[in-house]
């Protein structure tokens, strides 16, 4: 099995990756600005629905039910898709998914393909596999195009080029589209992208995309987007290949009623996406002549097996948790070293990769809970983070690590109030060499990370319990 989540196996720890990003003032400004704008819009349109909380509850319930019977719904989807004239392929891991897609592309003798924005293809590293086989992928989502032309990595689930501002985008377009005269107004930039892409839409006959929802009942695949470039890819090419994680299935067409209210409001702060497409198989004289869905596991059934973390698979990739996260706000998405950044990435990536890699990610959170509050499918991300931290401690980390020994020692002290009282007296005395004018300015070892940016008030001479004992002799 080659379970892969982008390049996260090779990614440095979150702490290491965060450092250069924290020093990139322009990037941080871009991230702060973009997330604030989206969040403000999201808060407004979520707030205007009186039944928002009921919708979240319904979405979570539908997802939980689907995950409990995932095998049945997937087979139902397969049968319905086949009946509508489509084809369904099953991929155990990233490698198999890429191989299946490559075979389909080769059958068309295609040397280039259109891409609709898809996280799953980024997860499997499809573009690299295509390029290695001599096939050129053209990203058609505006932000993905910026990332591709800039030889960059996406930094946000919904807004992949969120870390770039307009003038940075203009520089990329000027160079890669050979348009030295290009201005930086939104009109100039979209016009340039439009001209660049239209030519490809009309020429390239194979498109690869993802899915927002797979409808088990009808075999339809629902794709929502803002630009219409996805719609171009769905309607113009002769061959359409859609890659989807197995968790994308929902039971009924009617369930879209819930999700299509929650997703656009959570993702882009829109009441409805400008383009909502549902493709079901093939139809004579309309759209692609050959329609394929590649269903991908790539570690998902492993997550399904962990009862406490299973809710991770409820995710509909709206990105609301990224925009709300105070940690993401500081670093942007690249620090997470994965296709999936932000709070959802911090729980998804380490699980997909069986906790061997990305052990720092469950700790990349202050557990402030802002992600859970905005999550449209009610994934209790802090709870899953804590669960995964437990798995890091129990399954991955040496029990002789200084932190582990320290934690065990402190726990032993806390198990007895007499030991705690003795430890308090010890701390009150032992701090003396560190204290200057009532403050500690430098702590030793790993704790020096605290005093790098914060002083620590010295431990007072008398603890509360010492005071109590002195003043409340009759008490308990």
């Amino acid at each position: 099995m080659t379970i892969r989540v982008g390049d996260s196996v090779k990614a440095p720890s979150f702490q290491k990756a965060a450092l250069p990003l924290l020093n990139d003032a322009q990037l941080r400004k871009n991230v702060r600005h973009a997330t604030e704008v989206i969040q403000r819009k999201r808060d407004m349109v979520a707030g205007e629905l009186p039944d928002w909380q009921a919708l979240r509850e319904a979405a979570a319930a539908i997802k939980r039910k689907t995950l409990r019977h995932l095998d049945e719904y997937l087979e139902q989807f397969e049968a319905a898709c086949l009946a509508a004239g489509g084809h369904v392929h099953w991929a155990r891991d990233a490698e198999e998914a890429n191989r299946l897609v490559l075979e389909l592309v080769r059958q068309q003798n295609a040397h280039e393909v259109l891409k609709i924005k898809t996280m799953t293809a980024d997860e499997t590293g499809l573009n690299r596999a295509l390029e290695q086989a001599g096939i050129r992928p053209h990203e058609t989502d505006l932000a993905e195009l910026i990332v591709q032309l800039g030889e960059d990595r996406p930094s946000h689930i919904v807004v992949p080029a969120l870390h770039k501002n307009r003038s940075q985008v203009r520089e990329i377009f000027r160079e890669k589209m050979q348009r030295p005269e290009l201005g930086e107004s939104p009109q100039d930039l979209t016009e340039a992208a439009r001209q660049y892409l239209r030519e490809k839409f009309l020429r390239v006959k194979t498109a690869i995309g993802g899915a927002n929802f797979l409808i088990a009942e009808t075999g339809g695949v629902c794709i929502v987007e803002s630009e219409g470039n996805g719609r171009m890819c769905l309607t113009l090419p002769e061959t359409l290949i859609l890659m989807a994680g197995v968790e994308k299935v929902i039971p009924r067409f009617q369930d879209l009623e819930v999700f299509l209210q929650l997703l656009p409001r959570s993702a882009t702060g829109e009441r409805m996406n400008p383009y909502n497409s549902i493709w079901t198989g093939v139809h004579a004289g309309d759209g692609p002549r050959s329609f394929h869905v590649v269903l991908i596991d790539n570690g998902r059934t492993g997550i399904l097996a962990d009862e406490e973390a299973r809710q991770t698979l409820q995710c509909i990739r709206c990105g609301a948790c990224l925009n709300a996260c105070p940690v993401y706000r500081q670093t942007g998405g690249h620090a997470y070293g994965s296709t999936y950044g932000g709070p959802i990435g911090a729980i998804l990536t380490p699980q997909l990769q069986n906790m061997e890699h990305a052990q720092s990610l469950p700790y990349a959170s202050s557990l402030c809970g802002a992600c859970y509050e905005v999550c449209p499918v009610k994934i209790n991300i802090p709870e899953v983070l804590i669960h995964l931290r437990g798995r890091v401690v129990r399954e991955q980390q040496s029990p002789l690590k200084p932190e582990a020994l320290g934690m065990k020692a402190v726990a032993a002290v806390f198990r007895s109030h007499r030991r705690l009282e003795a430890a308090q007296r010890l701390a009150q005395m032992a701090q003396a060499p560190l204290v200057k004018d009532g403050w500690i300015h430098r702590l030793p070892g790993e704790l020096s990370a605290w005093t790098a940016a914060r002083d620590l008030q010295a431990i007072p001479k008398q603890s509360f319990r010492q005071w109590w004992k002195e003043t409340h002799r009759d008490g308990e």
Binding site: R394, L420, A449, A452, I459, P460
Partner: protein
């Protein structure tokens, strides 16, 4: 009412004034405070850092120590959140039915400090006097886990002499997050820098909260920057009276 105080381990050692103020206030309001000596720590640091096994005996100890209490008051919202969010699940995982029952019976009697005053004791005006410009930092656990809403602010608004100023971006984390501040010290410091700017912009002399942990973080940052803003727990403001200030 007989109020059993769970002080929280870090308040006990680092912020004894919070406990003393709480005792003084509750006694002034006509209640009795008990401090069971067997108490230590709720287990939050261990639990949240991944040492869940180590947190288990600490939960048992809390339950044993406080199971007969009329009400338990905790001047630390994150400890209350630890209990409400995780104790039931932790107890269930032991398969010990007696422990599950004990946790379920005890939790409804556990109150965060401002919850106890407003929701249980029904007071908002506690007769406090505090002639300072104060801003209030709503800690993440108080806001999103306990859903305290404006309870602490309702108490503060009734304090005489206070000049209460609103903190911008009040729902944004200060970057403490327990061991997060050490494990991800740089990101935590970047979050803190934003919070400090917001606090300074209010022009307040004092930043208050219902969690000394956030305040330790904010005050530590301000002190290192040479900013003279003080931080105090809500209990210390509510315990202050005109007579005391005159003294």
């Amino acid at each position: 009412m007989r109020i059993s105080l769970f002080i929280a381990c870090y308040n006990d050692l680092l912020f004894p004034e919070t406990g003393k103020s709480l005792v003084r206030l509750m006694e002034r309001l006509g209640h009795t405070v008990a401090f069971p000596r067997e108490q230590t720590c709720c287990g939050q640091m261990h639990y949240n850092t991944g040492y869940q096994r180590e947190a288990m005996p600490l939960m048992r100890q809390f339950v044993e120590t406080f199971q007969d209490a009329e009400v338990v008051c905790i001047p630390s919202s994150s400890c209350v959140a630890m209990m409400r969010d995780h104790y039931p699940k932790m107890a269930a995982s032991t398969g010990d039915a007696r422990l599950v029952d004990a946790v379920n019976a005890l939790l409804p009697r556990v109150f965060e400090f401002s919850e106890l005053l407003v929701n249980k004791l029904g007071v908002e005006d506690v007769g406090a006097y505090y002639p300072h410009r104060v801003t209030y930092h709503a800690s993440c656990h108080s806001l999103r886990s306990l859903q305290l809403g404006d309870l602490p602010l309702r108490l503060l608004r009734k304090v005489r002499g206070i000049d209460l100023v609103e903190l911008p971006h009040a729902d944004r984390c200060c970057g403490f997050g327990g061991t997060f501040a050490v494990k991800n010290g740089d990101v935590s410091a970047a979050m803190l820098a934003e919070k400090m700017r917001d606090v300074e912009d209010t022009g307040a002399e004092v930043c208050a909260a219902v969690d000394n942990s956030c305040l330790m973080h904010i005050h530590g940052g301000l002190h290192q920057q040479g900013v003279g803003i003080r931080t105090v727990h809500l209990a210390e403001i509510l315990a202050s009276t005109e007579e005391e200030t005159a003294r």
